[in-house]
């Protein structure tokens, strides 16, 4: 009736493959196991990005689209205080805005692993639990690097030029990616709290879109009404956008403001990234423990 051969737990006829290795007791051995787990999970998540049209488009098509739309729509009506074209001004902001909204991917990824029961499967394996978060945030960081690079390439294609050359571009991207990585941990917490991908996407949008738009990503703060202006001036997203502009060697009208974050965008961006990490890394680990043990 069945064509199945006996699926054996310990087949008598087959050579016994090596059983799962005993746990490493040494610190080095455990670190090596952790790195291996992270590698396996990072690879798995990247396969997902490639196979899920929505995720792939977030990292590839969306940055092209946003860049073209903002530069040509907003740019047509925008005059930058202190001179310079909107195109030159916008790219630093667009890198920042794209990476900020793309960080939602971590919330979606974490919550779908909870919702699909994959987390339960992981839970029954002798793997490192913290590798789940590390693998997820690292694969999202790589996707963010791809996304940011596509913004820059689109910019180059339509005439954006960084005055500080490749080094400046790499430095600016490094600041933006550090911030994106920190936001990933924040949205990982959201994803674990919410527990299903659709809600995670919704909650993420409600938080990240205002965060991205109430900033100097698209317009200088100076022209905004008082309350939005103050928010934009102190928004870490503005500091990241300012850092990119400064490090790329593009016009940065925020430098004319005497607010502290506007004067020290890189310091502000790095400090706020570290602050987010300091809060969200332990929080995400706790939430994951809760999500996987009841």
């Amino acid at each position: 009736m069945s064509t199945l051969t006996a699926p054996t737990a310990r087949p008598a006829d087959a050579p016994v493959p090596p059983p799962a290795a005993e746990p490493s007791r040494s610190l080095v051995g455990r670190a090596r196991e952790w790195v291996a787990d992270v590698g396996v999970l990072t690879f798995r998540n990247l396969v997902h990005v490639r196979r899920e049209p929505a995720q792939l488009s977030d990292a590839t098509i969306q940055p092209v689209l946003f860049t073209l739309l903002f530069v040509y729509i907003f740019g047509s009506a925008m005059h930058i205080a202190g001179g310079g074209s909107y195109k030159m001004f916008a790219i630093g902001g667009l890198v920042t805005m794209n990476l900020t909204t793309a960080s939602m991917g971590t919330a979606v990824g974490m919550s779908s692993d909870v919702a699909t029961g994959m987390m339960n499967r992981f839970r029954t394996l002798p793997m490192s639990r913290s590798a789940i978060l590390a693998g997820r945030t690292i694969s999202d960081l790589l996707a963010a690097a791809l996304c940011g690079t596509i913004v820059l390439l689109t910019g180059l294609a339509i005439g954006w030029r960084p005055d500080h050359g490749l080094v400046g571009v790499v430095e600016g991207m490094a600041v933006a990616l550090l911030f994106a990585y920190a936001l990933s941990w924040f949205t990982a917490c959201l994803g674990l709290l919410v527990g299903d991908p659709e809600s995670a996407q919704g909650v993420g949008l409600v938080i990240l879109f205002p965060l991205a738009f109430l900033s100097t990503c698209f317009v200088p703060a100076a022209g905004l009404p008082t309350v939005p202006r103050i928010i934009a001036e102190w928004n870490p997203v503005s500091a990241v956008a300012g850092s990119c502009r400064e490090l790329f060697g593009n016009p940065n009208p925020a430098a004319l403001s005497d607010v502290w974050p506007a004067q020290h965008p890189v310091l502000m961006a790095v400090l706020s990234s570290l602050a987010i990490l300091a809060i969200c890394v332990p929080l995400a680990s706790r939430l994951l423990r809760k999500a996987t043990t009841d």
């Binding site: 199945l4 737990a9 799962a20 291996a36 029961g117 029954t124 002798p126």
Partner: protein, 326 residues
């Protein structure tokens, strides 16, 4: 020598807020046997399985699996157990092969060993032809097989299956049963929850019925059915006979009912060795010819209803068990 049971739980308690989800469950499953855990929805089955498989920490009580204290050393326990949950836990966006390889790698197999084990399992579970298709395209039966294969990657000695055939078509179900029997024949110890009473009847060496967080009955399927009221005897005579009831009366435990045509007699009996022989002999001595003797066991549905006051959760295929002895 009596070996220690491979799964051993004593006095498990778990409460969620005011609700006592599990209120003193004890279980013991000897090596190479199947324990079926039955119970209505919300009885505490899944919570019990979660505590046995390190996914939930018990508030009180102890769990040993393969001799390992699960509460004290969950990681060591995880190396010895395989778990297949109620819902298939597959990565939909990976292929069947990639799923098994990933589980192998995360179970600390080397890359080569994980690949070899994946191929072997795909072959054993008849999935080689679909190995490089994404799991999201798999049918229900294929998913369950891949999910079970994933639980077997690290060759666990103890396997926990939470409703392994729920939602499967009859063919896939029979196939799954074959797989499960083959595993146990190889020495794997298995704990199985199910809502199909015939499945427990078919597969389990012993059955624990859980309700309101407690084990309310334990035994073989036959023992549980006997608890409900013995077996029903149904006799068909060649000719109607007024003497038949008198000849039988010493052997049955209830009044004897006779059908209208006088050929069929029914009564409750206490099951026992040589029962059918004794009945035929008694009738033969009275000069009565017998065409057919059947013992109808009460079904597990009867047991379930009698014990929990609730009908079985799912409609089961006819559960009437007939033992023909004549």
């Amino acid at each position: 020598m009596t070996e220690r049971p491979m799964i051993e739980a004593a006095g498990l308690h778990k409460r969620y807020g005011e609700t006592k989800a599990v209120d003193g469950v004890s279980l013991a499953v000897p090596r190479g046997t199947i324990l079926g855990v039955l119970g209505p929805n919300g009885a505490g089955k899944t919570t019990t399985v979660r505590m046995l498989t390190t996914m939930t920490a018990p508030d009180a009580g102890s769990v040993h699996v393969a001799g390992i204290d699960v509460v004290a050393d969950p990681r060591a326990a995880r190396r010895r157990i395989g778990v297949t949950g109620q819902d298939a836990t597959l990565d939909e966006l990976l292929t069947g092969r990639q799923n098994l390889q990933m589980i192998g790698r995360l179970s600390r197999l080397s890359k080569a060993a994980a690949a070899a084990r994946a191929d072997q399992l795909l072959d054993e579970f008849d999935l080689t032809y679909a190995a490089d298709r994404l799991a999201k395209g798999y049918s229900g039966g294929m998913r369950r097989r891949l999910d079970l294969a994933a639980s077997l990657v690290s060759r666990p000695e103890v396997l926990f299956l939470d409703e392994p055939t729920t939602g499967l078509d009859p063919t896939s179900r029979l196939r799954m049963w074959d797989v499960i029997r083959a595993l146990v024949a190889e020495g794997t110890t298995l704990l199985l929850t199910t809502q199909y009473l015939d499945e427990a009847d078919e597969l389990a060496d012993a059955i624990s019925v859980i309700d309101h967080g407690r084990v309310i009955a334990h035994g073989t399927a036959r023992e549980l059915k006997a608890m409900v009221g013995g077996e029903q005897l149904e006799l068909t005579l060649s000719e109607p006979s007024g003497a038949a009831a008198g000849a039988l009366s010493a052997l049955v435990t209830s009044d004897i009912t006779t059908s209208d045509d006088g050929r069929t007699l029914r009564a409750a009996v206490t099951p026992g060795a040589g029962k059918a022989t004794a009945i035929i002999r008694a009738l033969d001595e009275a000069g009565i010819a017998v065409d057919d003797v059947q013992f109808h066991h009460p079904s597990l549905d009867d047991v379930f209803f009698a014990l929990t006051g609730a009908p079985a959760e799912a409609p089961t295929p006819s559960d009437t068990e007939l033992t023909e002895v004549a």
